[in-house]
């Protein structure tokens, strides 16, 4: 097995005359966590489905775990665990039965499955819920069960489509902690998300998608350095248009998103001086993060 887990080469997919993925190429190395970032409709889920061989590309080549997909997707999927965007657990069954039934789909014997269930329940912190029906679980527990289910075949690669969407912060942090544990054990993860914090915390590398095109790729740190570089001041509480003309001479770049002004400047003090004495304004200075990169690249009312 090479050290490339996923390789997409010039992959294109359209539904009708709408292009969803447009000549996309990317490579995910074994053992890394790779993020697909993008606004809704950027093609993230379609890419995840193509990696699994559940959607056929119109053009381009896909190789997953060393085999061509979709031609030999079945072989690839033996080494993949999937956490979908929407839970599709079996509601008629208990937690334990869900794992048992799913293990059988991989051709595992009942005995082999029963041998791994305790460790999966422990991993997902669901030991006390083993015999509860899925319908009784909270949203966070369902996600953790879905994650445990994805691990039943001891996969090398995990494909996750918005793994923490819809979860409260506690549940989300617990999932992140579990995913870091898996990464430490050498698993490869490809995840789609529109939570910048999630991408920044988990991903070794990521790419930003828009209209099915890869518009930036790199480590979160490198992307922030490359596209933002300076500290950020968020200004809210005033008229964004008026304020931006006032401070424009003192900043590298200004972006307006809704009623918030994002100023990118190496010299925050100058901006503060300009705005001194204005009532009702709130200023927040912070280091740049991935959200700034995202806003800049996917362009919201961008101004230069």
């Amino acid at each position: 097995m090479s050290n490339v887990a996923i390789d997409l080469n010039g992959v294109t997919k359209s539904f009708g005359n709408k292009v969803i993925v447009n000549g996309l190429s990317l490579t995910v190395a074994s053992g890394e966590c790779f993020g697909l970032l993008g606004p809704n409709g950027a093609g993230k889920s379609t890419i995840a489905r193509m990696v699994l061989g559940m959607t056929r590309p119109d053009a381009g080549k896909i190789t997953v775990l060393g085999v061509p997909v979709p031609a030999q997707a079945r072989l690839a999927r033996r080494g993949i665990g999937v956490v979908p965007q929407f839970d599709n657990l079996d509601l008629e069954f208990t937690v334990r039965e869900n794992l048992l039934v799913f293990g059988r789909y991989f051709g595992m014997s009942t005995r082999a499955i029963k041998a791994v269930i305790p460790s999966l329940l422990e991993f997902a912190r669901l030991e006390s819920k083993a015999d509860a029906r899925v319908g009784e679980l909270s949203g966070g527990m369902k996600r953790r069960l879905t994650l445990a289910r994805a691990l039943i075949n001891d996969p090398q690669l995990l494909v996750m489509d918005e793994p923490t969407t819809g979860l409260d912060p506690h549940a989300r942090h617990l999932i992140w902690e579990r995913l870091r544990f898996l990464l430490a054990r050498g698993k490869t993860i490809i995840l789609t998300t529109h939570f910048m914090e999630e991408a920044e915390r988990l991903c070794d590398r990521l790419c930003v998608l828009e209209h099915g095109c890869n518009i930036a790729e790199g480590s979160p740190h490198a992307l922030i350095e490359e596209h933002i570089g300076s500290n950020v001041i968020e200004i809210f509480g005033g008229n964004p248009q008026e304020l931006s003309s006032l401070i424009r001479p003192y900043v590298q770049r200004i972006e307006v998103s809704g009623e918030t002004l994002f100023c990118y400047t190496p010299d925050p003090e100058q901006v503060r001086v300009q705005l001194r004495g204005r009532a009702g304004l709130r200023l927040l200075e912070r280091p740049p993060n991935l959200e700034d990169v995202f806003l800049r690249l996917t362009g919201r009312e961008m101004e230069k």
Binding site: M54, R56, R74
Partner: protein, 262 residues
């Protein structure tokens, strides 16, 4: 056929068993209620029509009306059980509950799933048909040894109707469309296939049409056995049912692939 279609076909001869076992585990929890539900309808027909109409009708094809009807009800119960399992249970597993989608994350193919669902629906048809046949034997409308021949025919009938219903499942945008299949296909078939009265009572064109109906072939296999008569055209009836099991299966695969794996 395209390479993609080939990849979606059953991967091997045993993968479908995992899907069958999933459905079995689910059914075990409600087995009694499910059995009663499957049996009540044909039993009521059998004894309701059989005794009520039977008194007026007298003998049909040289048998008591109830005995004549019993074979029709065995075949019909298999038809209904496997159809309902496919449209009212497999459809939500595919559509609302997204269970098929989860299975497609594993090493199973779409063909494995469909085959597992068909085998499960045929199993339920087998249970329903067997129960009626046993009741018929107990009350003396069928000879016990005949069941040896009747039961495989019931299973094959279940497969054929599951396969047909799978096409309907693949096409249906929602539950509401199933009523068309029930009232425009299954109910007329019940009356055209000789389940409740002999096909010879029909006018010429309808008699001709009956030759093409899977339920008619099923009844022609089952009734002579249960009434202990010489059967004719067994090979033809079995072949026809096999065609009805196999061709819709491949058609449903084309349709389901288009629906689920775009």
């Amino acid at each position: 056929m395209s390479e993609g279609y080939a990849a979606a076909l059953p991967a091997n001869a045993w993968n479908w068993v995992a899907v069958w076992r999933r459905n079995y585990l689910s059914w075990k929890k409600i087995a009694l209620a499910s059995m009663l539900g499957n049996l009540a309808d044909p039993m009521i027909y059998l004894f309701g029509l059989g005794t009520g109409l039977g008194m007026m009708v007298g003998r049909v094809e040289d048998a008591s009306y109830v005995a004549f009807l019993a074979a029709g009800m065995v075949a019909t119960s298999a038809m209904t059980a496997s159809t309902f399992e496919t449209i009212y249970a497999a459809y939500p597993r595919m559509h609302h509950q997204r269970i098929w989608e989860a299975i497609l994350y594993t090493q199973l193919t779409l063909g494995d799933i469909v085959l597992g669902e068909l085998a499960w629906a045929a199993t339920k048809a087998f249970l329903a048909g067997t129960a009626i046949a046993i009741v018929a034997a107990v009350v003396g409308y069928a000879a016990w040894p005949s069941l040896l021949y009747v039961l495989p025919a019931v299973a094959l009938t279940g497969f054929a109707f599951a396969s047909l219903a799978m096409v309907v499942t693949a096409l249906a945008p929602s539950y509401h469309y199933f009523v068309f299949y029930q009232s425009l296909v299954l109910t007329p078939m019940l009356f055209l296939s000789g389940a409740v009265f002999p096909v010879t009572q029909l006018s010429g064109p309808f008699q001709q049409a009956a030759h093409f109906l899977p339920l008619a072939h099923s009844i022609d296999l089952i009734r002579p056995e249960m009434l202990d008569r010489p059967a004719g055209g067994i090979a033809l009836h079995i072949s026809a049912l096999c065609l009805y099991a196999v061709l819709p299966f491949f058609l449903s695969m084309v349709l389901l692939r288009r629906r689920l794996m775009r």
